[in-house]
């Protein structure tokens, strides 16, 4: 699996297809995050913006490899593991991006609740912002996995489905990402930084299920 992950991450890095989603994320953050604003609010925004970016990265990792090259790797290690390697590479990339963004935002934001009423230590804010960002990365990867090959094969259906899925994952009540983000936003009002453990666990379970479906279908659908 290490060799597969190394191959997939090298493929992602060298293909330079990671550039558009990363630039999009940077633009999201430049628009939505100002230095000196309440930290938890900004972290909530940072986490929420990561979800569509993670979905896009997943789509890049899974569809970027030409079918014949995928077959060569799948013959060596099995189609399910080859598919899983692509999904995990995207998830790691999204998690890395989210972690970096969370740390930067925690450092440049105002360590206080809305209206500067309650002090929120930057490390405390990071401790609640990181799980939220990871939950969004996991859920975004799950959305990406369920809206691209081999689950949905036509681009015309897959891309709108991915965008809709990412939007729903952020706004529908009961979604782990929505719970994590609204926890941060509420925390910014009260000054109490919650650690969203439950949303993180729920997001991990959803991502595991989505990855399992995607890996299982890898050998069953037409190439």
């Amino acid at each position: 699996m290490t060799a597969l992950l190394r191959y997939q991450s090298d493929l992602l890095l060298r293909s330079q297809r990671w550039l558009p989603p990363v630039i999009l994320y940077a633009v999201f953050l430049c628009v939505g995050v100002r230095s000196g604003e309440p930290v938890l609010d900004s972290l909530g925004y940072t986490a929420a913006a990561l979800l569509p970016v993670a979905a896009w990265l997943t789509r890049i990792c899974v569809t970027g490899e030409p079918a014949a090259a995928r077959a060569c790797v799948a013959a060596a290690r099995g189609p399910a593991r080859a598919q899983l390697a692509g999904l995990l590479t995207a998830l790691f990339a999204a998690a890395l991006l989210g972690t970096a963004a969370t740390v930067v935002v925690a450092l440049i934001s105002d360590p206080a609740s809305n209206g500067h009423r309650v002090h929120v230590a930057p490390w405390r804010a990071t401790a609640s912002g990181l799980p939220a960002a990871l939950a969004c990365a996991l859920l975004g990867a799950a959305v990406g996995a369920l809206t691209c090959r081999p689950v949905l094969r036509s681009t015309g259906r897959a891309v709108p489905a991915m965008l809709l899925g990412a939007l729903l994952a952020l706004v529908v009540a009961g979604s782990p990402a929505q719970a994590a983000v609204s926890g941060l936003v509420t925390g910014s009002r009260t000054g109490r930084a919650p650690v969203p453990v439950l949303p993180l666990v729920a997001a991990a379970l959803v991502a595991a299920a989505a990855f399992a479906v995607s890996a299982r279908l890898a050998s069953r659908r037409a190439p």
Binding site: D10, S15, A68, A71, A74, A75, P79, R220, A222
Partner: protein, 289 residues
């Protein structure tokens, strides 16, 4: 840990109500066997190979056995952001080699196919033939137990085609299984242990191949052994015919693509055999490809 791949009553169709591409296929590919798959365009040859390589799951029936497999696809993409050496090192590692060994194997196989000059050229700039050499090399870097070749010879130049035939002979001699599709009927002529024909979604299996059916170029190897010594037992699996010509000498006729395998067997036997001569067979009517 060599394993046989066995297809039992296997059928495959794409989609829940799609037409059956293959149905009722029973086929076993054991260690050391070479299987040729024939059939018209679109008859399901590629699907059969994908099933054998475990790339596709069967829609019905079952497949057992999971040897270490390498697959050469029909059309290999140049659109990979690697150099051939970088790509082959990755694939070697994916096949389970340590990283240094993978890098060494990558270099060796590129040299064998005469592509070492392009080792550091981005793959997007390779010609179709050079790209195909990379496709073939990626399958051989990992010393697979099962090698599945889907028209792997197409696009290769003559020396590379001959090299691939030798590589196939080496793999089967080393106990690996090879399954291949090729449109040239002379490809590896006389060597396959079985030929399968796909027609109308069914598989017809014909065994045999050695002896009178040999159609490819032949090589005559004359060897001399210590008095009274017997030819190594696996020599008989390679040669088309063999006869003692007196003085402890044997005249062995072997398909040209397997002559290296035969010589290796004789020279590494205990006690080793002395090679008196190696010449192309007289009745080789120039049908080299």
């Amino acid at each position: 840990m060599r394993q046989e791949v066995r297809l039992t009553a296997v059928g495959r169709r794409y989609g829940l109500r799609g037409p059956w591409v293959l149905r009722g296929v029973d086929l076993g590919v054991g260690p050391g066997t070479l299987v040729r798959v024939d059939g018209a365009n679109g008859s399901g040859k590629s699907t059969l190979l994908r099933l054998l390589a475990r790339l596709d799951a069967p829609s019905e029936g079952r497949i057992s056995g999971r040897p270490r497999t390498a697959y050469v696809p029909e059309r290999f993409p140049a659109a990979l952001p690697f150099t051939p050496l970088g790509y082959l090192a990755h694939l070697g590692a994916v096949h389970g080699l340590p990283r240094e060994a993978a890098a060494r194997a990558a270099k060796t196989w590129l040299e064998r196919f005469g592509a070492e000059a392009y080792g550091r050229t981005p793959m997007a700039r390779l010609s179709k033939g050079s790209s195909q050499k990379v496709a073939v090399a990626q399958a051989l870097v990992g010393d697979p137990e099962l090698l599945v070749l889907d028209e792997a010879w197409t696009g290769l130049d003559a020396p590379a085609r001959a090299e691939l035939e030798r590589a196939v002979a080496e793999r089967t001699a080393a106990g690996g299984a090879v399954v291949f599709v090729d449109h040239d009927p002379r490809r590896l002529a006389g060597m396959p242990d079985a030929t399968c024909t796909v027609t109308g979604g069914r598989l017809e299996r014909r065994t045999g191949g050695h002896g009178a059916a040999v159609a490819g170029p032949l090589t005559v190897v004359t060897v001399q052994g210590a008095t009274g010594s017997q030819l190594p037992s696996h020599v008989s699996e390679v040669v088309v015919s063999g006869a003692e010509i007196g003085g402890g000498r044997h005249r062995l006729v072997v398909p040209a693509s397997r002559s290296d395998v035969l010589l290796r067997a004789l020279l590494t036997a205990a006690p080793p055999w002395h090679v008196v001569g190696v010449v192309p067979a007289a009745d080789d009517s120039g049908n080299r490809s």
